[in-house]
């Protein structure tokens, strides 16, 4: 928190020419992305396009074959394990599943990072756990085991744990997937409060378009390992609400944003050789 004016204006996250191959196939194929202090950026794209993979590179759990990721001014490729661990204390992650430890109560899950990474006394930690659980509306669930709470509550517990160390950056992978509309709106509100009131920088991967358009300052559309478009929310709104233009990229993004059953995305799927494939299977 000793940011001077110069670091305040530097991007918090920079992804530069990032390439990642799995078994020879490029899942990320030259990704560039900058995230600025305090903003919420939403990353969208079809299933399997590489969103989670990109996120995992930003949180130093995967490393690219080419290019680099810089977090809070540091190139992740240059850091050793202790350097990475120090950096990991400065961001929080809400995983797709919530990722709680099943052998611990909800409260113990939230307390864990505080016990492991701070020298705070137990009483202060207990107060902080209560504060975090209240923030996500789960104070009453502190003594329950993960197996005793619903999926939505697990997500919120995961979020309480992700914010236990007051991170500067929060990464969310599908924060509202599988949640009822009210709980999902509550999560959106939390994301916005954390960024609006505390200045936390947020990177959110989501399929939920309502949520995306509610929380995003900027949006990024990923497609087959490439960044199709990055821009302010207003540009994506204009694209969603505007007419078809015949521009392949624009129309593809529009179909995705609207969830239309027909358009460039589905046309692409139809032209992937289903006929030859199934006839070959039939032994033709």
């Amino acid at each position: 928190m000793c940011d001077t004016d110069t670091t305040e204006r530097r991007p918090v996250i920079r992804v530069v020419d990032l390439v990642k191959r799995f078994g020879g196939r490029a899942v990320l194929n030259g990704i560039n992305l900058e995230v600025h202090p305090g903003e919420t950026i939403v990353i969208m794209g079809g299933s399997g396009c590489g969103k989670s993979t990109l996120l995992r590179h930003m949180v130093a759990s995967l490393f690219g074959d080419e290019g680099r990721v810089e977090l809070l001014g540091q190139n992740l490729n240059d850091l050793n394990e202790s350097g990475l661990n120090a950096l990991r204390l400065r961001f929080g992650i809400l995983f797709q599943s919530g990722a709680l430890f099943n052998s611990m109560t909800v409260g113990e899950n939230v307390a864990l990072p505080l016990r492991e990474h701070t020298g705070l006394d137990e009483q202060t930690i207990d107060i902080m756990v209560k504060i975090k659980l209240e923030q996500v509306g789960l104070r009453e669930a502190a003594d329950l085991m993960p197996s005793e709470i619903s999926g939505g509550m697990k997500k919120r517990a995961g979020l309480a744990r992700a914010i236990s160390l007051d991170p500067e950056i929060l990464f969310y992978d599908e924060p509202s997937a599988g949640l009822d509309p009210v709980t999902s709106a509550e999560i959106d509100q939390l994301i916005m409060d954390l960024s609006g009131k505390l200045g936390v920088t947020s990177v959110v991967v989501t399929h939920e378009m309502d949520s995306a358009f509610t929380i995003a300052d900027r949006m990024a559309m990923l497609d087959m390992g490439r960044m199709l478009k990055i821009g302010p929310r207003s540009e994506f709104e204009a694209l969603r609400d505007g007419p078809e233009t015949g521009d392949e990229t624009g129309d593809l993004i529009r179909q995705f944003l609207r969830g239309d059953p027909e358009g460039p995305i589905t046309a692409r799927r139809l032209s992937t050789g289903y006929e030859e494939d199934i006839l070959a299977t039939a032994g033709e």
């Binding site: 928190m1 000793c2 705070l120 006394d121 202060t124 107060i127 902080m128």
Partner: protein, 118 residues
């Protein structure tokens, strides 16, 4: 390791009977400094003040460990019947109280003068 700076810069008893104590906190109250912060907050209580004012106008950043320290103080002063008043929170620090929903739990005043007068 550099010695941890105490965020409480100044402790002043404002009246001859020593009923009102003013603590002036400065800088950043974060994980590294919250233990020192707690210690300094609890110290004047041994002299049994009636009112304790914590001037937070010089605090540029406070994380939830700092807020937790103040909660700890609050539970102590409630027990000892001390009137705790927090004064001069900057918008950024106030936000931390709001997001943790503690802005209604503490008595907050715009500045020290108001905390003294009301």
């Amino acid at each position: 390791m550099a010695e941890v700076e105490n965020p409480v810069r100044n402790v002043r008893w404002l009246d001859p009977e020593k009923k009102i104590v003013l603590l002036e906190a400065v800088g950043e109250v974060d994980l590294h400094r919250s233990s020192a912060f707690q210690k300094a907050l609890l110290e004047p209580l041994s002299r049994r003040p009636q009112r304790m004012i914590v001037d937070l106008s010089g605090v540029s950043y406070m994380d939830s460990s700092g807020v937790a320290s103040l909660v700890k103080l609050l539970s102590r002063v409630r027990r000892d019947n001390v009137d705790l008043r927090l004064a001069g929170l900057t918008p950024r620090v106030r936000s931390v109280f709001e997001i943790t929903r503690l802005d209604t739990v503490f008595n907050l005043y715009p500045d020290v003068q108001e905390a003294l007068d009301s």
